[in-house]
């Protein structure tokens, strides 16, 4: 199950999207989530979908990877969609029983919400797949920089994020190893009733916590031994480089917004 998680995974590449400034990608992904709420009819959703698939195409990453990214969330999506279908009133009614109504409005809303979910997941997956965690934190640090005026510890937040992202794969591997080790000693995962299943998580969580703290301690030692003293006086190895392509991407987003405003009903 853990291998299917796409979170924090980065696929190397040299495509258009890979070469974009991480700030542009971050702004783009967030902006996309905002403007998707502008879409309210078929033609606007179609525009959003075409735009998303264009982005995916520009990233040179097979569409299968994105579909796999949606899979773990399919229960949440279906749940929301079914609720929409069953409890929306208005429009032409096809079926009615108690408080449950299946109406044309409901079906339409269900389809739209499904699209909205899938497109948002595609877009955010695209962001993490094409951006190295460290560049992403650089982007966050750079975008949050104005907050320094209000004494927000921007550098510390960015470092925390980058270490957290750096350790996601390490801790996943560790969790799998611990699970296997406990299985070898007879623990059954995912079996029995809910209480038993919750209890069987303990032999994973306790060692995982202990080892995370040990790792943190060792990492802190290693960082200090290499002269880490906090954000002050630090230079940066990675430079963020805003190029023509990023302006182009921003222009595309703007164009999409204008299009949506015109086409929405």
């Amino acid at each position: 199950m853990l291998e299917k998680m796409l979170f924090g995974r980065y696929i190397q590449g040299t495509s258009f999207v890979h070469k974009m400034d991480p700030r542009a990608k971050l702004i783009g992904a967030f902006y996309f989530i905002i403007i998707i709420f502008l879409a309210n009819n078929w033609i606007t959703y179609l525009a959003m979908a075409i735009f998303t698939f264009l982005c995916v195409f520009l990233s040179d990453i097979p569409i299968k990877v994105f579909i796999n990214g949606v899979k773990p969330l399919i229960w949440l999506i279906s749940f929301t969609v079914i609720l929409q279908i069953l409890f929306t009133t208005g429009g032409e009614s096809y079926f009615s029983w108690g408080i449950i109504h299946i109406t044309s409005f409901g079906l339409l809303n269900g389809a739209f919400i499904f699209m909205r979910f899938v497109l948002i997941i595609f877009m955010s997956t695209l962001l993490t797949l094409t951006t190295m965690p460290l560049s992403l934190t650089d982007a966050i640090e750079s975008l949050l920089n104005p907050l320094k005026k209000w004494k927000v510890p921007v550098h510390e937040i960015a470092l925390m994020l980058s270490i957290a992202l750096r350790f996601v794969p390490t801790l996943m591997d560790e969790a799998t190893k611990i699970m296997n080790a406990q299985r070898a000693r007879g623990v059954d995962f995912g079996e029995g009733n809910i209480i038993q299943q919750m209890k069987s998580v303990t032999p994973i969580l306790v060692p995982l916590f202990v080892s995370s703290f040990n790792r943190a301690d060792e990492l802190a030692n290693a960082m200090e031994a290499r002269g880490y003293q906090g954000g002050e006086g630090r230079t940066k190895f990675r430079l963020l480089d805003w190029q023509g392509r990023d302006n182009l991407a921003m222009a595309a987003f703007l164009l999409l917004t204008v299009l949506l405003i015109f086409l929405r009903t």
């Binding site: 460290l134 980058s162 030692n221 630090r234």
Partner: protein, 279 residues
Amino acid sequence: MEEIIQLKNISFTYSEEDLRPALNDVSFSINKGEWIAIIGPNGSGKSTLAKTINGLIEANSGEVVLGGVPLSTETVWDVRRKVGMVFQNPDNQFVGSTVQDDVAFGLENIGIPREQMITRVENAVEAVNMTEFIDKEPARLSGGQKQRVAIAGIIALAPDIIILDEATTMLDPKGRNEVIETILRIKEERDLTVISITHDIDEAAKANRIFVMQEGQLKQIGTPEEIFAVGADIIEMGLDIPFPEKLKYQLQRQGISVPDEYLTEEGMVDWLWKLFSVM
């Protein structure tokens, strides 16, 4: 000979309830350019000693002097620029998300301008033969490669001293050899002083001098020849002996008289050769 590290009567206890001190009145000095191996059974205070040298641990009493500068709260950051440290677990000292980011981490900390950083990172990565991996993430590297990256991160900072805190313990034999060879080569090229804390006796046998720790005390200082000549005593301390010594021990049990002094592998080969040509 220039003395680069001096420890004067260092004592350290982790907590007050601890009756047995982790370090008990340790004093020694190390000359520039030496390779020192610190050996000793588990819990003998080797790692604590290493952390004391670069100020990660502050001793309860005694003084650490590095290159003439006494270690104190004011000088600790200058001292750390002179002392690079490679730790045991290759996974837990990788800060950056690619090789070059990790090597640059130390340079970023001391505020090196970016243009200089690029050449220094390239040179350091080249020095450990990792150039082709410069863009790779830690998950794609073997343990030995990760340790070589850690070494690159340190030599980018151009230190005078490198401390290896059991840096090869978690590696397979191949990774271990890679790391040791890298260190040996860099030590010669850059005239570094190396302190290596190790359980690997074959690695210790390559050192100029060996310090033997036991229960927080420095029991013995000597050349590998002197230390390993005691043979059986060292096994009682919970330590292994180098392969030629094991062979000597077995030959002795077979009734063959062997020389008392320590033999390197080449020495052993020569001696065996002569023994058989006489027979």
